[in-house]
Symmetry: C2
Subunit: 129 residues, 2 copies
DNA sequence: CCTTGACCTTCCCGTGACTGGAACCCTCAT
DNA sequence: ATGAGGGTTCCAGTCACGGGAAGGTCAAGG
């Protein structure tokens, strides 16, 4: 399979697939003309990567998870640890965003949104006393 | 005031303050020795920026908001629009993160986390049928 | 046979909002 | 005179790609 087909199959942009090869996540073969030739194995890895990225894992996490995936002697505790660390970061982000949403929501509610200049949003940002 | 004092007062790193000058958000004076000299006005702007950034507004949003802040003839509707657009993006992000958290949470719960290799997390990433 | 168009290749730059570090200047106290 | 603790500029790196240029390859149609 050429990169275009793989892109279609995996849903990943060709650019991303090349990038993943660049950073050593996959190692497709090459045809005589220089084109990348992807085997089932590579496609499987790319799907793995796509799903892991969709769950928000960093590329480095993906590297670790792939290594564990391919290591038959892994301990599931190692996988779980990576996942839990990531989950904690997600929860921190959610908390931050919720705080922003609440503050912003209150300010927006308090703003008339008409053609007059008075605006509680700007007052707040300006450090209303 | 020199940059160090301003950094302390505003809670922004000196690097960030220089960056904000670079991109034209503030325009502090200069002393004869080349040091930046910050007036009350500049400190006020930096506090504004700090609060806007803490609410997650992009730098470009901050630029817009600052312009509105300084425009006595603004319409609060313009401010509200910027805020609402941003709020919508925050809510999208929250929804995405919540979905990740849920999926990841279930997978983590299902994972034994012991020294055996069986792992529902990897099974899922691997595309368990 | 030639051309067209759809592929593919590498390479380099840009993103957002900084952060780190090098190399150097200024000022004040010891 | 020297050292500490400010300040300055500029360059590079972050993260995970995306855009676009310049060029090679391939199958089909005229």
């Amino acid at each position: 399979m050429n990169i275009g087909d793989v892109a279609t199959q995996t849903g990943l942009p060709a650019k991303t697939i090349r990038y993943y090869e660049d950073i050593g996540l996959i190692k497709p073969m090459r045809d005589d003309n220089g084109y990348r030739r992807f085997r089932e194995q590579d496609v499987h890895k790319l799907n793995f990567l796509g799903r892991a990225r969709a769950l928000g894992f960093t590329i480095e996490d993906c590297r670790t998870l792939m290594a564990l995936y391919e290591d038959e002697t892994r301990a599931s505790a190692d996988v779980k640890k990576v996942a839990r660390t990531h989950l904690a970061q997600i929860e921190t982000k959610i908390a931050d965003l919720n705080a922003m949403r609440d503050t912003l929501g209150h300010l927006i509610d308090a703003c008339a949104g008409d053609d007059r200049p008075d605006c509680p949003i700007l007052q707040d940002l300006g450090g209303k006393p």
